[in-house]
Point group: C2
Chain length 346, copies 2
Amino acid sequence: MSLDKVDYVTEEAPRQATIFDVARLAGVSHQTVSRVVNDLPNVRSSTRVRVEEAIKKLRYVPSPAARALVTRRSRTIGLIATGGPEYGPSSTVLYFNAAARDARWSVFTANMTDSDPGSIRGAVEAFLRQNVEGIAVISGHEGSVDVVAGMELTIPLVALEATPHTGLATVGADQYNGARNAVRHLIALGHRGIAHLAGPADSVDARERERGWRDELGANDLSARVIGVGDWSPSSGHRFGEACDLTGLTAIFAANDQMSIGLIHALNERGLTVPHDMSIIGFDDIPEAAYVSPPLTTVRQDFETIGRDMLSTLLSRIDGDRSTELPQSLPELIERSSTGPATNVD
Amino acid sequence: MSLDKVDYVTEEAPRQATIFDVARLAGVSHQTVSRVVNDLPNVRSSTRVRVEEAIKKLRYVPSPAARALVTRRSRTIGLIATGGPEYGPSSTVLYFNAAARDARWSVFTANMTDSDPGSIRGAVEAFLRQNVEGIAVISGHEGSVDVVAGMELTIPLVALEATPHTGLATVGADQYNGARNAVRHLIALGHRGIAHLAGPADSVDARERERGWRDELGANDLSARVIGVGDWSPSSGHRFGEACDLTGLTAIFAANDQMSIGLIHALNERGLTVPHDMSIIGFDDIPEAAYVSPPLTTVRQDFETIGRDMLSTLLSRIDGDRSTELPQSLPELIERSSTGPATNVD
DNA sequence: TGAAAAGTTGTTAGCGCTCACAGTTTGCTT
DNA sequence: AAGCAAACTGTGAGCGCTAACAACTTTTCA
């Protein structure tokens, strides 16, 4: 079925060279070729050179399938990503993949818009069948990580947006302190009524940001009020911005930039201006943040670093290094014009 | 008091069952098991049942490595994605992957931020070594597709944002007519001086949008002026918005939403309001578009459909179907408030 | 100088599967 | 009841590679 009618035109593709072809050309045994290919010691350098020339001449490349069959290793990892195309997760996925490429590892990506346990388990099983040596999970939903962790895999697992699972490797920015910094900034500006527009309840990041906000307020004897629980989207920010009670408030910390944008828009529709009537601070620093009106004060996460850290953590675990030291970066406060001094509350 | 045969508390990782284990348990030959597994005919149904039971009992799953080694097929495809985490491409990647999962195909993703020929060729070679049966390219850079197409692969190739290469399967929205619709909308509103903020020169989509803009202007005897060539980012939109000459202009068609946002911001800084002083129209309909100020009139692309179409096109080519019919959708004009009636030009 | 040690190369046996074909049973015809 | 085709099932040979170890060289040093 792979033979189609154009085949008589194309020259018969010369069969990929095998290790035996190289061996014959170099006048050595296939095992010596294998040694050269795998960079093992105890090969005379003159022999090595001859083999390398033969390899180049025949354009030999080892067959991963054959190798995987015998070694049960594949130099391949599986990546599970749930959710839609939000900026944060998709950037992380992208840089994770890019880092894997740099390290000459292959990655199977399983994207799914939903994150029900069955799909996730199915993805993991498919990965296992493919002999992946490690699995990464980039998911906004806490449950996803739990499902994979609950499968008691024998291969390493690393997750973004981690729950404090014991024994689970997690990588990510310090959401908690990032949020505290954001709120601290607002307090320094004189704000006292600082509400929160939360992210989805099943997101660890969302919960950590909320916890940071709440703790910082608590440390300053200020009371906390959540004006809504959104789903990260601008439209959810807008929805809560339209409906919420603003009395006593001079600032709102939104769980991400996209919701901030929706929120500001709704506030404008209610006749309020930002930051004069209400200061708004977001989280993530998406590329648009600096160019909306007003430019968004926010907390920047470095998704490239996170993605690359996830990969390196996973690879070191695959190498057997179970050290618990996990990279965690501190997000940086970016001050723009959506926050300003508190004006008197009416 | 002997326990059930199934041993749940094995210390040693119990070696994965092979086709021979199943054969022994079912009292048949390994070949018969293979027939059952591959759903081949000529197996007595009673035998089939016995084998299936053995498979279930032993939790047998076929080894893709062994299978790939002998069949040279892998039920795996390779996806090359270049560029950064822009909304359009990353959405397409995501939905492509999701569709592949639904079809029970595995996909290797190679992300790279740059797109130099060497990296791309390297990625393709890695894919070939893994016996992928098809390759998809999602890249803003025209060159990327050319590189892959130039490798004269024997496996099918499908690309997003296509050049009119003969023999190359391409999927995507009709950028040209989408752009014409956008400009037509502006003309209907009374605009006569309609400039373009172009996307990067090496992007086919960018060129198609520009061509659509230019042709629609030409069809109405209006003159065309490009105020800048950006890189899709809000910051590039802002940069050109700051510097450009606006005389004689009442509207600008930007090549994407993100640049529109930067552009509008720059215009505001120059003391102009949108749409009163200048109508702006974007392209893509990113989630933020409806919530910036003013909400962006734009041309919506359905990235989910595009991603899924790419996958199905690729799979049908893998199946040997070389039909040239390629899915192409017409982007939809979304009218919001960044466009309005033309006011008198000064 | 000679033997052990170290360095180098070759041989054999699979990894788990499919393919080609050989062998066996069953069903149907006459 | 014989005979033959069709339906089933089994056997053996690889796919391309690495692991284990055997065999052969060269070096080292008493």
